[in-house]
Amino acid sequence: MAEKTVNVPEVIDSVESLEARMAAMRKAQAVFATYSQEQVDKIFKAAATAADKARIPLAKMAVAETGMGLVEDKVIKNHYAAEYIYHAYEHTKTCGVIEEDPVYGIKKIAEPIGLIAAVIPTTNPTSTAIFKTLICLKTRNAIIISPHPRAKKSTIAAAKVVLDAAVAAGAPEGIISWIDVPSLELTQTVMKDSDCILATGGPGMVRAAYSSGKPALGVGAGNTPVIIDSSADIRMAVNSIIHSKTFDNGMICASEQSVTVMADIYDKVKEEFAYRGCYFLKGEELDKVRKTILINGALNAKIVGQSAYKIAAMAGVEVPETTKVLIGEVESVDISEEFAHEKLSPVLAMYKAETWEEALDKADQLVRDGGFGHTASLFINTDETEKMAEHANRMKACRILINTPSAQGGIGDIYNFKLLPSLTLGCGSYGGNSVSHNVGALDLINIKTVAERRENMLWFRTPEKVYFKKGCMPVALDELGTIMHKKRAFIVTDSFLYKNGNTKQIEDKLDQMGIVHTCFYDVQPDPTLKNALAGTAQMTAFEPDVIIALGGGSAMDAAKIMWVLYENPDANFSDMAMDFMDIRKRIYAYPKMGKKAYFVAIPTSSGTGSEVTPFAIITDSDAGIKYPLADYELLPNMAIVDTNNMMTQPKGLTSASGIDVMTHALEAYVSMMASDYTDSLALKATKLVFNYLPRAYENGANDVEARDHMANASCLAGMAFANAFLGINHSLAHKLGAFHHIAHGVANALVLTYVMRYNAKEVPTRMGTFPQYQYPHTLKRYAEIAEFNGLGGKTDEESFENLVEAIRKLKKAIGIKDSIKEYGVDEKYFFDTLDEMTEQAFNDQCTGANPRYPLMEEMKKIYTMAYYGEPDTNVTF
């Protein structure tokens, strides 16, 4: 089928002809959108050059048509719009890939917006047309202009100069167009049917643009107040203001509307204004001008862009023909004062301020009432940094100009070379605008960001020294004296170990080295904050330079807390306990540790691995909150794994802490954050536990080899999960322990096979979020553990079943019961608290690294199955 041809009328004077033109422009723009940067830059240059060359005829035309402004100044505006805009964007990339960082996998691609609607005012008809058409060409957009009826000929002429040059340089025909017979209806159609609006005009126009439903870069009225501070260079200030205020007869929206002068320099300022040709209105003249400039609170159209002499004549005031600016010395900044308004002509209000505060108040009021968000100006000695800061802070203006003629200064790049050149000045939300900067080419592109998948940097962190081997403790401690020259040691342990004489060997060694020492031996199981604070008080009084933690997880965790509070007495506990999604991005930054004391951790059980982990758990019994603290600042400096300290572990502890080690290893291996570094440690730990835990449990102190290997297994698994973290097995166990007083290791064991089966699902309800975790693969990971342990299996499924069976056997061998119920947990109480326990488990810090993101309902089912000791094969979800 042949494409329907649309006849686009030559003259756009109706909605129908406009719609036909806009449809044709969209086609042209679709072609333009395929142009390369090189083609576009060629067109941009040709168009800017043509506009630049036509600056004088266009300026003449604008003045002749509108009867406003001054040809010579309009020449400057046209020159600026062509040359400065070209220069600003000459090398700017606006097509295709404009930014790329292959390492981070990020790429930015610029695309045109499409068809831009431009509303052009009477005050700057040719320069604004040049500005807007040029930035559209640079960004491969089509632009349709809605001129003001009073300035349509000159606006269209300017657009045509740019269009002809652009087309000659290769741009599609009709890429720039305009309404020939402007009306509000057509302006509204242009706005409604465009992709984006560049609206320069008064509040009515800006409101219309925003209500059209299309994104708009609207701008608003200005009412620039200028303050001349006592410290200012008066001559520079006054002449800058005159230079700006007279420019194009005051028609730039950023030009000064009022000047507030400090009382002590008022007379000098006045004298300079008068000397330079400004006229101070006297007596009745003031009222005559008031009535001329404003009609019923609105600006008299007849004075806009007229000379001071002409305006005075209209008001019936006789002034010299060469008068530059009419100045009214007035007092009120209220809008009932005519002089307080924007005047778009060389008429200026002048106020006297007794104090700096009064000057700021006046300027603030003037901005708020007449030019919210536009521009404010200040003349001052720039050594007065405090005043300048205060001024910038007070003015609700998006351009704050210092020692600058505001008309030429506000449009940018003339008096400051980092302020973007523009003839469309954003007024921010103050002025109901979407932008607060000087609008430019980059506002007219859509930037597509291409982000490639990248994997996070990972890490492996351990204490700087990990000493191990049966009997190594005194040798390792020797360093404290001989190498580190420590003077005061503080031992943290529990009363059992203290009374049992386990600290004796340490104390003897310290005595031998002449290190003064004391001991806090009151760490309770599941230590409380109160307990730790008592230790901290003692520690603070003693001022140790080395802390030695001796014991199981409780003693080591409590010592870590005391260490934090000793080093940072002001640290906030609940902040430190803040959960994180990624430990590197946590909001709270831990205080730096080690300024006061070196930390040595000596485990007496083979389980928690706390001697090499950055974790500590502490309970605030008053608030009923358990704080799991996690940060590498909590990592001990030295770990001493000496089996001699572990020989007399009772059976129950051997069993519970031993299965805890297995859980650490399994969870670290299947964690989303597992790496080659942690995998090797975790795998080895599983093998040691399978081989030696039953022996250590059965033979106790008689089996040194089994104890030795279990000590190492605990420490290896600790290093694995210190870096790969854990999973929901620990989340469930933490809360099970807290709610029902079940030993941590046992709690882990009770949910272990259910969790394994849950995590191993190939079609989980939700998988965890981490870039390196690409798809659910936990079944395979468990199969790898089975294989490493020689458990056999032809498929991953078989290997997994063999692993689960081996775990079941291990639990049986070390006397772990089959259900939570068997540990004496009351059924009613269990189910009454189940929902709360589930939610807390879901919210546990360990949940984050689990390969499967759990639903609370699923966690609840696991708890229920574990309560009754159901077969783990029931985990079908």
Binding site: T122, L184, I295, N296
Partner: protein
């Protein structure tokens, strides 16, 4: 008691107004559009339905070949007459005038035409307006919010009748619209300015105070209502004033 005989009140080329018993009858000349008469009856009946004290419509019918509308005859003195007769009481009467206008604007004018549309039609219909001024005015009008308050459209003291019991009735609703109270006040201000500029200023301050509508907001409507009145200007001086009022520039 009024008797059932015709008492002529006004006789002009385009209409005759007379009283017949308790009905005030306006008989329009034959050229007057039939729709205009029905429209007035429609508007007035809507205003009645809001509960506004108004002279209620009794009928629309053809009388002697012209269309006529009959409304309740309200016994009493117009506020304009009272102002003229009681110069010492003028300030209190002006206050009353403003109070009534504010009270009227509290009614929600469901079903009436919107002020914005009516003014747009007026501006578009002006024959000699230069395109630039028309553009500015339409742009200004387009930026106005569309309110739903009852606006009388010709609210002046001669359209208010004070009854003996002290209650009031507003008559002549043919220009009523739903819209912005500020626009209605701007119209009143304009009418008063043509008669007595000092009184107009006094009215504006009072209205702004009592209605809590800023003078600046009312002023934004002045060029728009002035344009609507341009064709009705009776003298060159009036025309000059109205032309001055509409010759304003939007800030840019």
């Amino acid at each position: 008691m009024a008797e059932n005989k015709k008492v002529i009140i006004v006789e002009r080329s385009n209409k005759t107004v007379y009283r017949e018993g308790d009905v005030l009858v306006k008989v329009f000349a034959k050229e007057h559009a039939k729709s205009g008469v029905f429209n007035e009856a429609h508007i007035t009946s809507l205003v009645e339905s809001y509960g506004v004290p108004a002279a209620a419509v009794r009928f629309v019918k053809e009388i002697d070949g012209g269309w006529a509308i009959g409304v309740d005859f309200i016994e009493g003195e117009t506020l304009a007459e009272k102002m003229k007769n009681e110069p010492d009481n003028f300030d209190a009467l002006l206050e009353k005038f403003v109070d009534i206008q504010v009270a009227v604007s509290k009614f929600k004018a469901v079903g009436l035409r919107n002020t914005v549309d009516k003014r747009a039609e007026e501006i578009n219909a002006l024959p000699d307006l230069d395109p630039s001024t028309r553009y500015e005015l339409m742009q200004r009008l387009h930026g106005m919010k569309r309110h739903t308050k009852l606006c009388h459209g010709d609210f002046n003291p001669s359209n208010i009748i004070l009854k003996e019991d002290g209650s009031w009735v507003v008559v002549d609703w043919s220009h009523a619209t739903q819209g912005n109270a500020g626009a209605d006040a701007a119209l009143t201000y304009l009418e008063l300015t043509l008669q007595d500029p000092a009184l107009a200023d006094k009215y504006l301050k009072l209205y702004s105070k009592k209605s809590d509508i800023a003078i600046q907001y009312i002023q934004t409507w002045m060029p728009i209502v002035a344009a609507g009145q341009l064709t009705k200007a009776k003298t060159d001086a009036e025309k000059e004033l109205l032309t001055k009022w509409i010759s304003i520039a939007e800030y840019q």
